[in-house]
């Protein structure tokens, strides 16, 4: 059974249908990339999964439980974290306070402290800047903070929306390296990216979204060598 299953999902913005009945699945331990052009519905898909938007039809099933109608704030407690597009760190809170917010739903202080250690280990920069307000960090550092904050909920699956957006090439490398590291520690990753080349290079499988439908799917390696993909998304 797949860890996360999206079935015939349909999402509307008012009268406009953004997602036209898509289905896909994510198995435990996988890195799945959702690629596609601007406006294809990638962000909408993630936001619907974590309850920021509501689906008109279809289902989202997480570890066997239908979470389509579960209020957004309860989903994180089930083991699913979402790193939103544009990072959305709490700019006036310090780095440490941001990370603590990530563990908002958790009660065990010792476990939270251990988790914090782990995050600081993965992102030494965050520890260096723990008392700085998040708004003063660079874009790349804010991205790290957003990822660290999501990890503070100790998720089994992490959804990442455009983590490389607007970052310098060095940071892009670093962010993708960290995603691989998160995956290697056993967390399942659903990754939305415009940078299709990088996304496919670390993903196991990928789905290509085009104007609200899934146009193609398959092994990341196969998609990389797919003529159509190379032309449309890899700029070759």
């Amino acid at each position: 059974m797949a860890m996360l299953e999206v079935k015939d999902l349909q999402v509307f913005y008012g009268m406009i249908q953004a997602i036209k009945g898509i289905s896909f699945e994510v198995n435990e331990g996988e890195v799945i990339a959702l690629i596609g052009a601007n406006g294809a519905g990638k962000t909408t898909t993630l936001q619907t999964i974590t309850g920021m938007l509501s689906a008109k039809a279809g289902h989202v099933i997480f570890e066997g439980q239908d979470i389509t109608r579960i209020p957004g704030h309860k989903i994180v407690t089930m083991g699913m974290a979402h790193v939103p597009e544009g990072r959305r760190v709490f700019a006036n809170l310090t780095v440490y306070e941001n990370l603590k917010m990530g563990a908002y739903t958790r009660k065990d202080k010792d476990e939270i402290a251990r988790n914090l250690e782990m995050v600081y280990k993965s992102f030494p920069r965050l520890e260096e800047r723990k008392n700085q307000s998040a708004g003063t960090l660079s874009g790349g550092e804010q991205q790290m903070l957003a990822m660290g904050r999501a990890l503070m909920s100790n998720p089994r699956i992490i959804l990442m929306d455009e983590p490389s957006m607007g970052l310098s090439p060095i940071f892009v490398e670093e962010i993708f390296h960290i995603i691989e590291e998160i995956s290697s520690k056993g967390t399942t990753v659903l990754l939305v990216e415009q940078n299709a080349k990088k996304a496919l290079s670390i993903a196991d499988r990928a789905y290509v979204l085009e104007t609200g439908t899934i146009a193609l799917s398959g092994d990341a390696k196969d998609l990389m060598s797919n003529e159509q993909i190379r032309k449309a998304y890899l700029g070759e």
């Binding site: 974590t50 974290a81 939103p84 874009g139 909920s153």
Partner: protein
Amino acid sequence: MSFLSYLINGLSLGSVYAIIALGYTMVYGIAKMLNFAHGDVIMIGCYVVFTLMSQYGVHPGISILAAILICTCLGVVIEKIAYKPLRGANSLAVLITAIGVSYFLQNLALLIFGADTKSFTSVVNMPPLHLAGGKLTISAVTIVTVLSCIVIMIALMLFIRKTRAGQAMLAVSEDRDAAQLMGVNVNGTISLTFAIGSGLAAIAGILLCSAYPTLSPYTGAMPGIKAFTAAVFGGIGSIPGAFVGGLVLGIIEILGRAYISSQLSDAIVFAVLILVLLIKPTGLLGKPIQEKV
């Protein structure tokens, strides 16, 4: 000595404004809306105390608790019925609704309690304090008001810093969607904010009416607007700002009334507001507006 006495009166009035302004500023910071019905919640609180104390002879302490409880519930209900359906609507629609709720509460009070002005009995029955050989008299209400304001202010700061619900409020005020992703119940947090703000409004109203003992359906309107001014003056969204703004505004109003003109005292208050906003648009303690990258 009269200056000192004016100053103390100003502090007392300012404390009331500060308590009301805290409600305004918290709701603005967290729900991102101006709740213009906030002032009228004050008036409802006063009527509750008045009715219980003067008509049913209930003990002042119990009357106050009842008023706080009723206003807290009223605030939550107003939010549920009037504002929650407009979550995500443009801010003008919410503003107009808030003004509508304000008129609704005023007219509801008119219907239930009548248009005649009631004379409110102070809930503080202690002798005034005589200082400097009887030259300076401070009424007990004044002392209670100032102390209440300080206690409320400190309690609120601790609540936001130290409790989970307070952290949730901070997160929601910064970024509602991100807060939800952290597992914060945004609707619950907004309800809680309205509950606290309205409970404080009840306290402020009772203190105000104990010092200025006339009560009518429009009693809350002017202090409401003044407290809103105080909140903007101190930097809307900032809790210390509401405190400082309220105190300064109260002092300016009383000193203006004493030394310049009693008719112009309101005009002076608003003129100072305009000046502050011209020089520092985010208010005294407001954070500079950050450009989103």
